[in-house]
Symmetry: C2
Subunit: 426 residues, 2 copies
């Protein structure tokens, strides 16, 4: 089943806006067996939109159009569809009444211009919009279903879900696509793929095929598993088995199989183990603490953090002896360790993190180039210290350093060795 998604609006043809509705729509349509073959953004021009719709109708089983259903002259999706299908536009009295009611409830009179939103190509089904004035429309032509939805995501999303449940799911045939994501950190993409591909490779040839895509994003690797199945329960079972097999092979470097990000996973672990955390950050400049505190409820386990950019601040705030800085340099494992243990002692928390490095673009030396970061995590009577060499811009180095410190915390709280030790042990 082939589908096309069109977004209407000249503002999405400027350098400032990108269409993101189509990501949500793709995910939902994939699940009921539609394969997206084309996505396009079309200007607010009735002729251009009509041409595009006419061309899509020659091959698609489903056309979803978002935007252009507002009350102004620029909003011409209704008119374009009526033109292509050769249908007259009729005034729908029940829409008009709902519009008037909506305005009346806010003590306003409906502006005359909103009558346009009550115009319906003859024979079209009306899709109610609980969150806005623009109703959606449903039409069919020569085996192709046409769904018109408003552009604002808050209005579009529930309307798409309703149209899928009430009309499209029944129409869909064959198999749907169902997905899981494994998130992995602390290992290189090539290393993960060398270990994972012998496992996932054969899955494409099994009765219920699963395709796997490996995606390297900053500070982590993602394995996207997509199962094709006609029944959700079958897909769920196959995906659960696949996830389990990959987890067993990849070990503790897999930190999430349920969509949670690393700060959520670490936060949940700290709460489960009733642990509190404090951090002393230099090159990450507060990013670790900011990510930890992005998680709702993080005040349960986050006590405090210090950003000690200057050497004096490292001594004042984390108790790093000036002699250690003088002997080893501010970016060194002994300083990271003193920061982690110092902030933990001062805060009286269970976990302490210390991060010191060179985020760049300046400040690098031949010995310690930009991207060199020493990280220490103290949990119980163990302190682990690692020196990393990160690549990329200043912001990329900061993110990867925060990510690595979260991952070290995760592994230590779980009582697990790091990825390096784990793969050596195998």
């Amino acid at each position: 089943m082939k589908a096309c998604i069109l977004a209407i609006g000249s503002e999405m043809l400027t350098p400032f806006r990108v269409d993101t509705n189509s990501l949500f729509i793709t995910d939902r349509l994939n699940t009921i067996g539609y394969d997206i073959r084309l996505k396009a953004v079309v200007a607010d021009d009735i002729g251009e939109l009509a041409n595009m719709v006419a061309s899509v109708l020659t091959w698609a089983d489903l056309l979803v159009i978002t935007g252009g259903l507002g009350p102004t002259e620029d909003d011409m999706t209704r008119d374009a569809i009526a033109r292509v299908l050769g249908l007259p536009l009729d005034l729908d009295e029940s829409i008009l009444e709902r519009l008037r009611d909506r305005f009346a409830r806010r003590g306003m009179t409906m502006p005359e211009i909103n009558r346009r939103q009550a115009m319906v190509p003859r024979g079209a089904g009306v899709l109610p919009n609980p969150n806005g004035t623009a109703p959606g429309l449903w039409l069919e032509r020569g085996g192709c279903a046409i769904v018109l939805l408003p552009g604002p995501p808050r209005e579009m999303k529930p309307m798409l879900d309703a149209v899928i449940a009430e009309r499209l799911a029944a129409k869909a045939q064959g198999t749907g696509l169902f997905r899981r994501v494994l998130k992995i950190t602390g290992r290189a993409e090539s290393d993960v793929d060398a270990q994972a591909s012998p496992i996932y490779g054969p899955w494409t040839r099994q009765a219920l095929p699963i395709t796997t895509t490996i995606l390297a994003v900053l500070g982590q690797i993602e394995l996207h598993l997509t199962a094709q199945a006609s029944r959700q329960a079958d897909a769920d079972a196959a995906l659960a088995a696949a996830v389990q097999e990959l987890q067993a092979a990849l070990g503790p470097s897999v930190y999430s199989v349920d969509g949670r990000n690393l700060e959520q996973v670490v936060g949940d672990l700290l709460r489960e183990h009733t642990l509190t955390i404090a951090a002393a950050e230099s090159c990450t400049g507060g990013l670790l603490m900011s990510r930890l505190t992005d998680v709702p409820g993080s005040s349960d386990y986050v006590d405090r953090g210090v950003v000690c950019y200057s050497n004096q601040a490292k001594t004042d705030l984390a108790g790093v002896p000036a002699a250690v800085i003088a002997e080893h340099g501010a970016v060194s494992e002994p300083v990271a360790q003193a920061m982690a243990e110092g902030i933990r002692a001062r805060a009286g928390t269970n976990v302490g993190v210390g991060i010191t490095g060179i985020a760049g673009p300046g400040g690098g030396t031949p010995d310690k180039p930009v991207g060199t970061v020493a990280i220490a995590v103290a949990v119980g009577d163990e302190t682990r210290v690692r020196t990393f060499q990160f690549l990329g811009s200043r912001e990329m180095v900061k993110f990867q350093a925060a990510q690595s410190s979260l991952n070290m915390t995760r592994l230590m709280v779980l009582g697990l060795p790091g990825a390096r030790e784990w793969s050596e042990r195998k």
Copy 2:
């Protein structure tokens, strides 16, 4: 002059990836007078791509295609173009030689599969790729120029700029679009627009027309000015005058007219005035410090920061008297003030910032609902304290609070009153 941008690649038809190359391409093409009428993402399918190209050639003056120029079977942009234009593909010996050289320089033999990248539709111009193996291609058909570029942004961007300078700028006719952005913070969109629209409204009717779009993004309002002119110098002069007129009217709420973000503007100001800064953050959890330290060279003026989530930490790290917390509550102007002045005294910096609030989703009360944030900034012998009521998710509240604290710092360093006082003074 009408242009179309096509991105080729099935991975951009999944829920995980969005085409962003087209934003850069749009900006560049607008400047030389091309109007983007259609953007589309097409699957790795030679028939579908060929159909789309054939349809675009009926109306476009320029077609830019990115992606599908790699060496694998999936990469079929070359073949699709050759098919549509009815051209044979010839092996280009000079491309082949450059490919072999490129591999040889890394001590590798060119894999046979890369020969595909040396296949050129007969008569096409070859566009060198300094950053990768895939060369670009230039063709013309019936008044439409066709530019094929590789997908990776690092390869595509310099190649587009070269093709614009060497081929497209000469071909372009008529007027180009030139842009400026005014960034404004601390005021509501409706308020900014009420003041700005009488000024920018008439600009669309002047000899060199300027259109203005107002865009509300988190924590700021942007005014996008677009001038249409055949000569860049004319556009620059008109835009400079327009920017100056809006700045004069909107006053100090305009913080940037040159693309810099707020943390860069504040950082540059601190450096110019040889001031140093320290912050005590509660609800922003380190985000203010992280944003300040995103700016290269920020170690010149950032001394230290503390994240004091718990009441005890506020006392320990910023010297907030426990009695002040007990009397006014942790989220209160007296506590914010004690945090700002306390951290400044302890750090020995010139500027101190204190932020305390309720980021949500939990923790709100009828008196102090989620989004209530008290912010204090101490500069010289003045401390300003404000209480804000931000809307949105936890992360949105954090961002807006950091933004407001940066803006208060900016105004105080400049010796300016806040937006409220400024508009009252007018």
